[in-house]
């Protein structure tokens, strides 16, 4: 253990009661919170604040008791990931803020307005696992991350180095193995695992990859403890989460909610629905469609959403208006997902375009049973047959569209196609700005 690591200065911040936590702050939520204000509001924290050589283990223990799980999509327990890296030779911590999900805005927002909360979490995680190096992976574009790192450098705040790296914008680039490979100097393409990043990551070193939001939660657990973390949320799904709400709502945007609340709470937070809706896309483009009546009642936890046939993913909740054609919307996204295949694995490279074409046939001419059967077969054919989960996620998305919009399929088959859409509801990166 390295003795004498500096403490991060600042008064002991008050633990916020209730919400918001991560988005706690001044009246202007669009402004990056400067370091001084951040430390004033949240308080400083002591590295090794729990005392002596046991400090790091104690933080991991606190994270475990808090029940913190990853907010990047998979929901893996954070403490397990940390333990897998702790004690290995010269480990590296990677902050994954390269949000690949086109409809998600939460990590970008967090990096823009609360960069220090994420960086605190990264520094704490690095200290806990014995890493001296933090890499922040962002999408190319303006961000306040580098300015925040410079502020910390000037304040001589951190005993670890922090590097900001911009990622290519491809969807699969934010996949963990692709991210690690890119940071090792190669193309941002997924690799065949094992080895996993904790075994052999950036430049062959053991690597802890954590989502930006997860680290922000960790920064608050380190300050206020696991009991405080659990004071919001449910026993099985403690804490809060950031969701990106879009579609037919008054104020689309990122909101912080208590874990386990009904999904309708997210739409209430966004000012309510603007018009009748037919379905909700939950979890983004690797998630699933749920019919509106099911969706509004489902509780926002990984377990509840999986039981309902969806997934929490990165927390995207997209309300589809009643007038939109769910099949046409899904077909547009499926084609885009097919185009985003890294082109490495045959079943993904060839299967996803075939799936997108089948869905296009169905959404135009309806439920011809031979196309439907072929599509069902192809969906099961690509699942689990790529190096990463790109084909699995795409198959889940398309399968849920077939199920949720089965009435539309039948209607199209009877020769009643949907009226042309006023505008596409599901956003894609290359779209012109939405009306």
């Amino acid at each position: 253990m390295t003795p004498g690591l500096p403490a991060i200065p600042g008064p002991a911040g008050l633990a916020p009661a209730g919400l918001p936590r991560l988005l706690l702050g001044g009246p202007d939520p669009a402004r990056p919170m400067p370091l001084a204000e951040h430390l004033d509001r949240h308080g400083g924290f002591l590295l090794r604040g729990f005392g002596g050589d046991h400090g790091p283990t104690m933080l991991i223990d606190a994270v475990e008791r808090a029940g913190l799980t990853g907010h990047g999509g998979a929901g893996f327990p954070t403490a397990l990931k940390m333990r897998a890296v702790a004690g290995r030779r010269r480990p590296v911590v990677v902050v994954n803020a390269a949000e690949g999900e086109p409809a998600s805005r939460k990590d970008a927002l967090l990096m823009r307005i609360r960069p220090h909360l994420v960086l605190d979490g990264a520094v704490l995680a690095a200290d806990a696992v014995g890493a001296r190096e933090v890499i922040v992976a962002l999408h190319t574009g303006p961000s306040s991350a580098q300015a925040a790192v410079n502020e910390r450098l000037a304040a001589r705040l951190d005993p670890v180095s922090i590097t900001v790296v911009h990622m290519p914008k491809e969807y699969v680039a934010s996949e963990e193995s692709a991210l690690v490979r890119f940071l090792s100097g190669a193309a941002a393409l997924p690799t065949f695992t094992p080895p996993r990043p904790y075994e052999r990551g950036v430049n062959g070193r053991s690597t802890l990859v954590q989502n930006a939001e997860t680290l922000a939660h960790l920064a608050l657990i380190a300050r206020h403890g696991d009991q405080w973390f659990r004071s919001v949320g449910t026993a099985d799904a403690p804490g809060s989460l950031l969701v990106t709400v879009a579609g037919a709502v008054q104020r689309p945007g990122v909101y912080e909610l208590a874990s386990g609340v009904p999904l309708s709470t997210a739409f209430d937070a966004a000012g309510g629905l603007t018009e009748p809706i037919q379905a909700v896309l939950v979890g983004g483009y690797f998630g699933a469609w749920l019919p509106a009546e099911t969706a509004l009642q489902v509780r926002l936890t990984h377990a509840d959403l999986v039981a309902a046939g969806a997934a929490l993913g990165a927390g995207v909740l997209l309300a589809l208006p009643a007038w939109a054609c769910g099949l046409a919307e899904s077909q547009r996204v499926a084609s885009w997902l097919a185009s985003q295949s890294a082109g490495q694995c045959g079943p993904c490279t060839l299967g996803l375009p075939a799936i997108a074409e089948d869905l296009a046939l169905l959404s135009r001419s309806g439920n011809t049973s031979n196309v439907r059967n072929r599509l069902e077969r192809r969906l099961s054919l690509v699942e689990g047959r790529g190096a990463c989960h790109h084909p699995d996620g795409t198959a889940r998305f398309v399968a849920s569209a077939l199920q949720t919009f089965s009435a539309d399929l039948a209607r199209h088959r009877r020769g009643n196609p949907c009226p042309p859409a006023r505008y596409p509801v599901l956003p894609l990166p290359d779209d012109p700005v939405a009306p």
Partner: protein, 66 residues
């Protein structure tokens, strides 16, 4: 000794030789990529499985021992 077949989907280039040599456990999908029987390789097919692994032109097929 038992083992499972595994294919590296990145290196596999759909030569299809494995399915020729071991049709009992490997079939090809509509694009020519192998579909592996997930069950352990039975003892009487072990020699054929080793042969399929050895003859894969891209070394994508492996037999994991346990």
């Amino acid at each position: 000794m038992t083992g499972h077949l595994r294919v590296n989907p990145i290196t596999c280039k759909a030569h299809g030789i494995c399915a020729e040599l071991l049709p009992e456990l490997i079939s090809l999908d509509e694009w020519g990529y192998p579909l592996l029987d997930p069950r352990p390789v039975p003892a009487h097919l072990m020699a054929h499985a080793r042969r399929a692994v050895a003859d894969c032109p891209t070394l994508a097929l492996t037999l994991t021992k346990e």
